[in-house]
Subunit: 570 residues, 2 copies
């Protein structure tokens, strides 16, 4: 009988990223994917062997099926020609560049540091932004749950991350993904009875068609249409790429606004426009009327599309006219209708409590607090019947607060605090997308302890497997939310009126933290300690931003410091 | 090549009903089913051959699987011993008796006459009432749709028919069917989180377990619990079988009332008990709050159960005490809670329109009339998306009006008319159970044309295949509704305060009609012409009833006439 030897293996992996880093055009790395794998094995005490394997990866997305093997062989050959060392260097170089722009450094809290780097790595591992046919699934490539399909997570969570940490084309490709699905979204709305080019983007998709199968989601969770529209606005305000609106964005905005205009109906009872029969972000409610968040997104969308049309009418009359022709748009009549609907939109409000109501009739529910739930009944979605869940007041994830997060600049601190203090205690955070929004708003109202609690909850979700579900895959899209908790939460990063603003605070548990933001050609490193905020500009032009509402300019390569205002928002 | 002869066949069928007609006990005819089949075939111009086939039918419901063939052979042998002629005579005799008690004769309208007899035949063909393990499926044995399962159709529609046209044990067995499923109904409620013996009967069942799979039906269409409770009350008021309450009924009522007591929750906002997240009889609405019909049934049930407990506490203290023990019932506390909930139940009401509201927020919907729907869009459930259907105000079947039908004596004619005139024009009658209730209420408010229109719609549904769906099977349970349209609609039959009442009217299209009613040992034949109402008593005791609110006594075998009041209810 032969003796079994214990061997040591080392495996290194190198992708063909050098091709893309040399390209100025946006191309699909997936057209030309190969990899080199180095295996080192200790075969005896004194002897180590090393060999390299080269792999070509092809897909029928890019090649005719009968060409797949041939193309893969070509790629593997190209890899072998380049050699492992060269590929590894390019691979390392690419990752260094990614870390340079997206890393967050935390001093004095090693668990928090590990967590945020784990999240940032996974996000960049999932999406490179080079192929506009691809998108980000909630589990990325780490699990089969959600089948690799795309949700509103991309627009609401991932895009803020990529906008600040990656070149503009990365986000742009995510927008183009939806632009290319516009026709399917119009077909989807037609199937439901909508007309005249109204579009309803699918809740879940891989090729533009709706891939979900529950009515309370497919035709009721329509707020995703709002997120897709808002992402266009968000991209433009971050990058300054105004051309995107006339090239692609406006067609999408028109189609989505047409949907809202048909979806909102006039209530003679309320003398307001209402949006009936929806499911908001809080999926522990179904088929509700006048979800505050959905109505807010619809109102904003109708207004933004109207303004965008007016803008392009002036700035590019030729293109304006072409879009009107293409979309068969009745400018006077449709815009007038949109303005009427957005002006007369109903928003549930509780006068006595002075808070926005998540939906009509929310206060008819038994009002209970999540803190009073017995530990053994949580998470409720693993312990309660859906009958109990739907009839309870418990909120799965930020809903009204999601709207306040998106439109925060419209509300003063007292209003944000009242709504936060009403909704947060009723929220069970059973979506991974929930804690980050609460962390940001808690930071906004100066509740540093709550912000930190929520940050921990979002950042180590998978590392510590809080919900005992990591075997299903990582929460890739919510990892972008973790990044947001630091940069938008503690860092207080906002973009308002075309300007970048930061209002940093710092948890007591941290000595310092630092992040980097790309904004309209600026490239700023922000370091926050318990004493001061330092801003270093890495771009070639003078950077302008507001720190605690004071306008500051930073010359290329220079650094500026501002004293930390720990009580700024309180 | 052999010549093909054209042959005439005659097939006769005889069931073993003579056994049951001689039994005084309720036994299952299905324990001992056999049949004789006579086939006559003309084999040449001058020669006819005749032969009889005898069949034994067995089921694993009644025998061990390995006994099935043996038992079937025994039964076939018993049939052959009896012989075809004897079986045919018994069969004919049984049907004659059925027709004697359940026939409705219509003079001057052959289409209406054919329709009602077709319906009455099918109902009796489907359910004999001899086996309490069996029930009535919406398609009977005529189609595979609904898989032979039981719905609330039985309690709400079939029971009124059988109560008036069949011996009491027929209905009693339908009640026992539910009594035997009580434990499963308690389990079903437990799965949803209800406790302490609360029962939720399944929406669809074959053995007591829920066989439906959509949340908006299974745990939201809870009004069926009310229908099952009401059937107990209905059975007792018709038959006078007060003993049923203490023997079986009360246990079911307690369990259902416990469900309502837990299902209703206190709204601090409304300062009322509310029932949130339900689907009413109108399944073109889902997950609504405070469905007027459901709240009404719940309130009634809590009150009736309380009264029934008080009654048995006095009439049979021993049994009362046994039931309390068996159900672990806290008499003082639970009844006090039920009285509190029923007294403080919220009922949506529109003050300006002065009509009950089908649900909270109904008037936020765009108010459109069914008559304005383009013909090519009807039925809407074959032409519209569910998104459009759910958000429309269109009503599938009687909902608020179903409640007014059940509790009609609580409302004056003006109230009934106002609600009828509000809801009927919004109703698309896309359930076969809808037109009959409208026919009855239309007759009640003196709208004879509408009543006749609705009668025609319900009675010839399958004969004329109105909805182009008869290939799926006949609408067996709604056929009972057709019977109700005549007897309760035109005949105005009611049972109130323990007394039988009729208030006959007659459509202009008919010369006369006649029906027969069994009521607490009375057996009355009612003949209605354009001039008068004749009542003939076929029982052995003096019959008492109210005709147009006047008390009338009819001696055995005698007949009494009253002048027709064509404008009675108008």
């Amino acid at each position: 009988m032969a003796q079994t030897k214990k061997l040591d293996f080392r495996v290194a992996f190198a992708m063909n990223w050098e091709i893309n880093t040399q390209n100025t055009h946006i191309t699909s790395s997936h057209n030309q994917t190969w990899a080199g794998i180095r295996i080192e094995a200790q075969v005896s005490e004194n002897e180590t062997i090393q060999f390299d394997k080269f792999v070509g990866v092809t897909s029928s997305l890019n090649h005719q099926p009968d060409q797949l093997i041939k193309k893969a062989e070509e790629k593997a050959l190209m890899a072998r020609t380049a050699g492992f060392e060269k590929m590894l260097a390019a691979h390392t170089d690419r990752w260094s560049n990614i870390w340079l722009h997206s890393d967050i450094k935390i001093e004095g809290d090693i668990a928090a540091q590990q967590a945020i780097r784990f999240n940032i790595f996974q996000l960049n591992q999932t999406y490179t932004g080079d192929d506009e046919r691809l998108n980000v699934g909630p589990k990325g490539f780490t699990g089969e749950k959600y089948g690799g399909t795309t949700y509103w997570d991309t627009e609401a969570y991932c895009i803020p991350f990529f906008l600040a940490t990656a070149p503009p084309h990365v986000t742009r490709n995510l927008l183009i993904y939806r632009y290319k699905h516009l026709e399917k979204a119009i077909e989807n709305a037609q199937k439901l009875g909508f007309t005249k080019g109204a579009a309803l983007y699918p809740m879940v998709t891989i090729n533009g068609e709706e891939c979900h199968n529950e009515w309370e989601i497919t035709f009721e969770e329509i707020h995703r249409n709002g997120a897709i529209a808002f992402a266009i606005f968000n991209y433009i305000r971050h990058t300054g790429d105004e051309k995107y609106l006339e090239e692609y964005g406006l067609e999408v905005l028109i189609a989505i606004s047409r949907f809202w205009a048909q979806r909102a109906t006039w209530s003679t009872e309320k003398q307001k426009y209402v949006i009936l029969g929806v499911t908001g972000p809080n999926e522990y409610e179904n088929n509700i009327n006048n979800n505050w968040y959905t109505n807010k997104m619809a109102q904003w969308c109708l207004r933004y599309t109207s303004e965008s049309l007016e803008k392009i009418k002036t700035s590019n009359p030729t293109r304006f006219s072409a879009i009107l022709d293409k979309t068969n748009f009745d400018f006077e009549a449709e815009v007038a209708q949109w303005q009427e609907i957005s002006a007369q939109m109903h928003f549930p409000f509780h006068a006595e409590l002075n808070v926005f109501m998540q939906q009509d009739g929310f206060m008819d529910k038994e009002q209970k607090m999540a803190a009073d739930l017995p530990a053994q009944e949580r998470p409720i979605n693993q312990n309660w019947s859906w009958d109990r869940i739907l009839r309870s007041c418990f909120i799965k994830q930020a809903d009204t607060l999601q709207g306040i997060y998106v439109f925060e600049e419209e509300y003063d601190t007292a209003t944000i605090r009242r709504n936060f203090e009403f909704y947060e205690p009723r929220t069970v955070h059973e979506s991974s997308l929930s804690p980050c929004v609460h962390a940001i708003l808690a930071a906004r109202i100066g509740n540093l302890n709550k912000a930190y609690e929520m940050y921990l909850r979002t950042s180590r979700l998978d590392l510590d497997d809080y919900n005992n579900e990591v075997h299903e895959g990582l929460h890739i899209t919510s990892m972008a939310g973790t990044w947001m908790s630091i940069v938008e939460g503690f860092g207080g990063k906002r973009v308002t009126n075309g300007a970048l603003r930061i209002n940093p605070i710092i948890p007591n548990q941290w000595e310092a933290y630092a992040f980097r933001i790309t904004f309209k050609g600026s490239d700023l490193e922000i370091k926050v300690s318990q004493k001061e905020v330092q801003i270093i500009s890495h771009a070639k032009k003078t950077a302008t931003l507001f720190v605690y509402d004071e306008k500051i300019s930073v010359e290329p390569g220079a650094a500026t410091s501002v004293q930390l205002k720990s009580e700024y928002n309180a």
